[in-house]
Structures are given as structure tokens and as C-alpha cells.
């Protein structure tokens, strides 16, 4: 039975980076901007976070550095697509490619270095509860922050006036503009926030999850985070669920192998993607859900003159 709870714990760890990045992307997509550059942003943030952790020895500073790097890159992307009306898809893809190359370039000197001692993370008192301790109370604080963030994003989007404005801009920027809201500036703020969260996820991977820097280490997590927002029909709690589900099936297939279950590894490698898509498609199979939740102006440029 213990193995099941350890598996649960590992799944939550594995899903956290996805959840952080995906929640960020959800915010900018809710404002109508599709940022396909998530993978590149996460890579640049990963090296920024890793280098900062290496030089300062402080993980907290590293997380801020990662978030800042992510926000800066996303803001540059934002200016390009919001003010200069470059194509969002092409610009996002370019950002992904740029991030991969740039992070590899600046990271050359960091591939052989090691971060200072990593301490295991625990919640005193709670960590020793049988079963639940290893599953829920031995995580890094960012893991809990991701849960809090899902709650915060949900509350912000659906319970606050600012969230309503953000959603309005994603649905109909013309109407929001007519009402006097600074559509482009709000979009930029949403994009930068999304970049900051993607950056935090990148730094989490290079500083906590796999404490090392190697070129291309995000290994597609940015793309999965992007896909998650869609499969989760732009709902924060579903994003969190989808991220844990993906992490869970990833870890499950590795655990199954350890238990000696013989399945073709290609199938096992495919399993997380397959399971996440199937489950999220099932819970969103009502067409109305997607139509109602998909920001109507997603990917479309807005110009106040037209």
C-alpha cells in the first residue's frame, strides 16, 4: 500500500511544473493571446534560475530570476504581437526556437556545475502521518504554491472585477475597448504574468526537480502545458487536475516497469499523453463547454482603430 502513496506523492511532484506553466498560459489565453513560446520561455528561465541558484546559493532568488526572465521574454513577445501585430503563431514558434538556442548558448558553462546541497522538503508534524505523510506532506513549497495558485487564478477570473475585464478582453476586445479599458496594456500584463509563471515552472525544473542544467532539459513540457489549457477548457482546477494526471500516468508507467509489468516501452511512453487527452476529452465532451469557455478572440490581433 505504501507504494501507492509514494506514487501519489511522485505524481504530484511530476505535475507541478506543468501546473504552474499551464496556469500562466491560461491567464494569457483568457486575455486572448496564444503564446506558443512556452517551451522556449521555460528553457531560458531554467538556465536563468539555475545560474542564479549557483551564484547566490538561494533558491528563492533563483525562482524570482526564473520568473523575471520568463516575464521579460513574454513581454517582448507581447509587444511584438499586441502592438506590432505580428502573427501570434509564428512569433510564438520563433520564441520557442530562440529560447532553445539561446538557453543552450548561455548555459554552456553551467552543464558541468552542481548546485549546493539540496535538503529534502518536509512539513514538520504532518510528514510522519502514515500513508498521507509521504503522499502529501513531503513536497517542496512550490508544490503547495501551485495548488494555491490554481485557487487564486480561479478566484481572480471568476470572482473579481479585474478577472471579468480580463475575460471580456479575451472574448470581445472591441467591446472592452468601447467601454474604455486599455485592451493592449491589459493583454501585455496578462502575457507577462503568464511568462512569469512559465518561468517559475522552468526554474522549478532546473533548481528543484532535476537540480542540474542540460541543454533542452524541459523536454517538451512547455508544449504539454499549452495543450493542457485547451484540454482543460481554460478552467484552472481542470488544469491542475490534468497536470497531476499527466504526472501520475508518467510515474505510473515507470512504477509498473519497476514492478515487472512487461509492456512495450513505446506504449508506456505514450501512455501519459494518451491518458491525459482521453480523460480531459471525456470530461469536456459536451461541445457547449468548449464553446462557452474558449476565449472568442484567442489568437486574433486587436487594433483600437478598427
Amino acid at each position: 500500500m505504501d507504494a501507492v502513496f509514494l506514487l501519489l506523492g511522485a505524481s504530484i511532484d511530476a505535475g507541478t511544473a506543468l501546473a504552474l506553466a499551464s496556469l500562466g498560459l491560461l491567464l494569457n489565453e483568457r486575455a486572448g493571446v496564444l503564446n506558443l513560446g512556452a517551451e522556449g520561455i521555460m528553457l531560458v528561465a531554467a538556465i536563468a534560475g539555475f545560474a542564479t541558484a549557483f551564484h547566490t546559493g538561494s533558491d528563492v532568488v533563483a525562482f524570482f530570476a526564473g520568473a523575471l526572465a520568463g516575464a521579460a521574454l513574454a513581454a517582448a513577445f507581447g509587444v511584438l504581437v499586441i502592438w506590432l501585430h505580428t502573427n501570434q503563431y509564428a512569433t510564438g514558434l520563433a520564441l520557442s526556437l530562440f529560447g532553445a538556442g539561446f538557453s543552450a548558448f548561455v548555459g554552456i558553462d553551467y552543464t558541468q556545475v552542481k548546485l549546493s546541497e539540496r535538503t529534502p522538503f518536509t512539513l514538520p508534524g504532518l510528514q510522519d502521518i502514515p500513508a498521507l505523510g509521504p503522499a502529501l506532506f513531503r513536497h517542496h513549497y512550490l508544490v503547495y504554491l501551485a495548488v494555491a495558485l490554481a485557487a487564486a487564478v480561479s478566484w481572480f477570473l471568476f470572482r473579481t472585477r479585474a478577472g471579468l475585464v480580463l475575460r471580456a478582453i479575451g472574448e470581445s476586445p472591441e467591446s472592452a475597448h468601447a467601454l474604455g479599458y486599455p485592451v493592449r496594456r491589459i493583454r501585455l500584463a496578462a502575457v507577462a504574468t503568464g511568462g512569469a509563471l512559465s518561468g517559475l515552472a522552468g526554474a522549478f525544473i532546473s533548481v528543484v526537480y532535476t537540480p542540474l542544467w542540460v541543454e533542452g532539459m524541459i523536454a517538451g513540457k512547455g508544449w504539454i502545458a499549452l495543450a493542457l489549457t485547451t484540454f482543460a477548457t481554460w478552467r484552472p482546477w481542470r488544469v491542475l487536475l490534468g497536470a497531476y494526471l499527466f504526472g501520475g500516468v508518467t510515474m505510473l508507467q515507470l512504477h509498473l516497469q519497476g514492478e515487472g509489468v512487461a509492456l512495450p516501452i513505446q506504449l508506456l511512453t505514450l501512455l501519459p499523453y494518451l491518458a491525459t487527452i482521453v480523460v480531459l476529452v471525456l470530461i469536456s465532451r459536451d461541445q457547449k463547454w468548449i464553446v462557452v469557455n474558449m476565449p472568442a478572440s484567442l489568437g486574433k490581433p486587436f487594433s483600437p482603430r478598427t
Partner: protein
């Protein structure tokens, strides 16, 4: 490339000029002019032309701290050992696909006379290119196909895996050890088996759990696989993947692990028990000297501890002294061939005897290995 093609263009233009001048009977001056730049170009390339140009194609980044890093260190050491007779270059991150052929062809085109491909997947591209450049020597790591100007080389990584296993068997408390494995090919299966056989010296009833990640290099995934093994009570981990992620995961969890391909001791000061390394320097030095002396032949080389290609280094302080002595004895045995890792009796998972008592495995047996020995749990995933 650009340099070369511009030279060619220049030469072509000069030739045109010369023939034109000859046609019009104004030979003198322009001939001299034509000869002058041509000879100065030749002079400029002379110092390079005397040195043998060797090029290396790597599958990963030179900073992977493992497989490619080991090749690149050896490239530098071997070139240095030839005292300036060889100038070497490399291209990293060359995928095992159509791109490989383009890169390798490019290397031949640039005047490299000795070309190394350091991963199995370059086999077909190298065969193709070798056919088109008969005066260039090709060296392919871990492959099995040869041609008059293409030969193969490999290292007996399983000897390192066996010695690591001996240490693992002595150190495990749970009698469960784990391997993060990459792709189910004979080489990797051989290493898992050898690791297990080594561990059985001190822990005859040891269980080896295996998790395959289907990649050579994917640090987060390697870390997840390592975590899965630790969750299933494995307390000493080994990996046949290319990064230091497994060792670092063991370090984070307060468990034990090994370095693989390169010395990884600094990545897990507490967890690191030793590093099973490959030293490609002796072979690269030999290959370069073979070409320099004109004695290069299309052979198939498989070197191990005996030739200095494999070693278990940086044994940790926590490894008991008698185990360290045992490792030294094993190395000596491998060197004078009084000891062999694959010597019967060896039985497979089902209990079937695959090597009779006293029988030493032949290379063909090892190269085609596709079963687990007794002690390894699970089944080999059916994947090609």
C-alpha cells in the same frame, strides 16, 4: 565550406582567364598573374594539409557529463598525444537520422581524412558516405557493419557495470538495486545483467529492478525513473543513460548511486559510490596513429579493462576497504585474462543454464544477448 567553394570559384575564373588569354595570344603577363594567386593559396593551406584532419560526430552535447563528454575528452587527449600531427574538430547534437548523413558527408567534403561517428544510429549514414569517399577512413562506435574504409570500435561497458555491481551488492541494505535503462538493445541488457552478476558476489539473493525510459538523454525523465525505483525500495541505483540525473536523485533521497561513462563524483558527494568510466583515449590515439603510419585496416575492436578503455574510478570512502581490494583484484584479473565476467555457470530468469560451469562467453554470445539473468525482475520490453 564557403572557404573551399570560393577557392574553387576563383580557380575556375583563373582557368577561364588563362584559356581566354591563350586564345588571344597574350600569354605572358596573365599567365604569371594566374600562377601567382594559385600558388599563394596552396602555400596558405600547406600547414593544414600536412596535419591529418580528424572529425567527430557526436549524438549529444559535449556538456552532457556522460557519453559525449567522454568522447570529447578523449578526442582532445588523443590529438594532443600525436604532437600536432592531427588537427581535430567535432559537431555535437547530430541526430541519428537523415541529418547525420549530411553532417558526415560535409566532414568528408571539408577534407577530413579520419571521421568518427560515436553512436549506433550513424551506421547506415556512415556506410553510405564511406562508399563515396574511398580515401577517407571512417570509424563507427558501437556498430557492427564494416566496409573497406569503415571499421567499428566499442568498449566493454559491461566490465564497468559488473564492478559497480560488486560495490552495489556490498552496500545495499534492502537487497534491492535498481537500474534506469535507456533502450532495450543487447548492450544495455548486457550491462543490467553484468551489474546483477556483480552484486550477487556479496548478496546472492539480490533483486534488480529495471525501469526503461526509451531515451539516451532526458534528465527529468531519468530522475523520475530513479524516483520510481527508490519508491520501490531500491537503495543503490545504476543507470545506462547519459546524464547525472539518476545519481542526483539518489543524492536527494539519501540513497546511493554510480557515475556512468564519465566521473560524476561531484554530482553526488554523498551518494556516489564510484564511476564506471569509458576511456576512449587509447583507441582514438591508436586510430590516429594507424592512419598516420598507413597501417589502418578495417577491423572490429572491442576493448575493456585490459586495454585501459574501461575502469571503475573514484571509489567512495564509504566503500569498505575489502571491497576496494576486491575491485583491484578483479581489474588485475581482467587485465591478465585470468578472470571473465561472463563465465559459467550462469542461469537466466527461468533457471535455464545459458553458460555451463567454466565456460567463457564468446563475443557473439555477448553481442546478441537478449535475456535477463536470474535476479533481474520483470521482462525485457519488446521494442526494437
Amino acid at each position: 565550406m564557403m572557404h573551399r567553394s570560393s577557392i574553387r570559384k576563383l580557380a575556375r575564373e583563373l582557368a577561364l582567364l588563362v584559356s581566354c588569354a591563350a586564345a588571344f595570344g597574350c600569354k605572358g603577363g596573365s599567365d604569371k598573374e594566374a600562377a601567382k594567386p594559385a600558388s599563394s593559396i596552396a602555400a596558405a593551406t600547406t600547414p593544414e594539409a600536412t596535419a591529418l584532419k580528424a572529425a567527430f560526430a557526436y549524438v549529444g552535447p559535449v556538456g552532457d557529463a556522460g557519453w559525449t563528454f567522454a568522447h570529447d575528452s578523449a578526442r582532445k587527449a588523443a590529438a594532443a598525444a600525436t604532437a600536432g600531427k592531427v588537427s581535430s574538430s567535432f559537431v555535437e547534437n547530430v541526430p541519428e537520422a537523415a541529418d547525420a548523413e549530411r553532417v558526415i558527408r560535409d566532414m568528408a567534403e571539408q577534407g577530413n581524412k579520419l571521421i568518427f561517428g560515436t553512436t549506433f544510429g550513424y551506421m547506415e549514414p556512415m556506410l553510405k558516405v564511406a562508399k563515396d569517399y574511398p580515401d577517407v577512413k571512417f570509424e563507427h562506435a558501437t556498430g557492427y557493419k564494416t566496409a573497406p574504409n569503415l571499421r567499428t570500435y566499442d568498449s566493454k561497458t559491461y566490465e564497468g557495470a559488473y564492478m559497480a555491481g560488486v560495490v552495489a551488492g556490498a552496500m545495499t541494505k534492502t537487497k534491492t538495486i535498481g537500474v534506469v535503462a535507456s533502450i532495450p538493445i543487447p548492450e544495455v541488457i548486457r550491462n543490467i545483467n553484468s551489474f546483477t552478476l556483480g552484486a550477487q558476489r556479496h548478496a546472492p539473493d539480490v533483486k534488480t529492478k529495471v525501469v526503461w525510459v526509451n531515451k539516451w538523454f532526458d534528465p527529468p525523465k531519468e530522475a523520475e525513473a530513479a524516483q520510481a525505483l527508490l519508491n520501490q525500495s531500491a537503495d543503490v541505483l545504476m543507470q545506462n543513460t547519459d546524464s547525472s540525473a539518476v545519481l542526483q536523485t539518489a543524492e536527494k533521497a539519501g540513497k546511493l548511486g554510480f557515475g556512468w561513462d564519465s566521473d560524476m563524483s561531484k554530482f553526488g558527494p554523498k551518494a556516489h559510490l564510484g564511476s564506471a568510466i569509458i576511456n576512449w583515449t587509447p583507441y582514438y590515439t591508436k586510430a590516429m596513429n594507424d592512419v598516420l603510419s598507413g597501417t589502418w585496416k578495417p577491423t572490429q575492436t572491442w576493448w575493456g579493462v585490459k586495454e585501459g578503455a574501461i575502469d571503475l574510478v573514484s571509489l567512495a570512502d564509504q566503500v569498505p576497504a575489502e571491497v576496494k581490494t576486491e575491485i583491484a583484484t578483479l581489474k588485475a584479473g581482467l587485465k591478465d585474462e585470468s578472470f571473465a565476467v561472463w563465465k559459467g555457470p550462469i542461469v537466466d530468469q527461468a533457471g535455464k543454464e545459458v553458460l555451463k560451469a567454466g565456460e567463457v562467453a564468446k563475443p557473439e554470445f555477448l553481442l546478441g544477448l537478449n535475456f535477463y539473468v536470474k535476479g533481474v525482475e520483470g521482462k525485457i520490453p519488446s521494442g526494437k
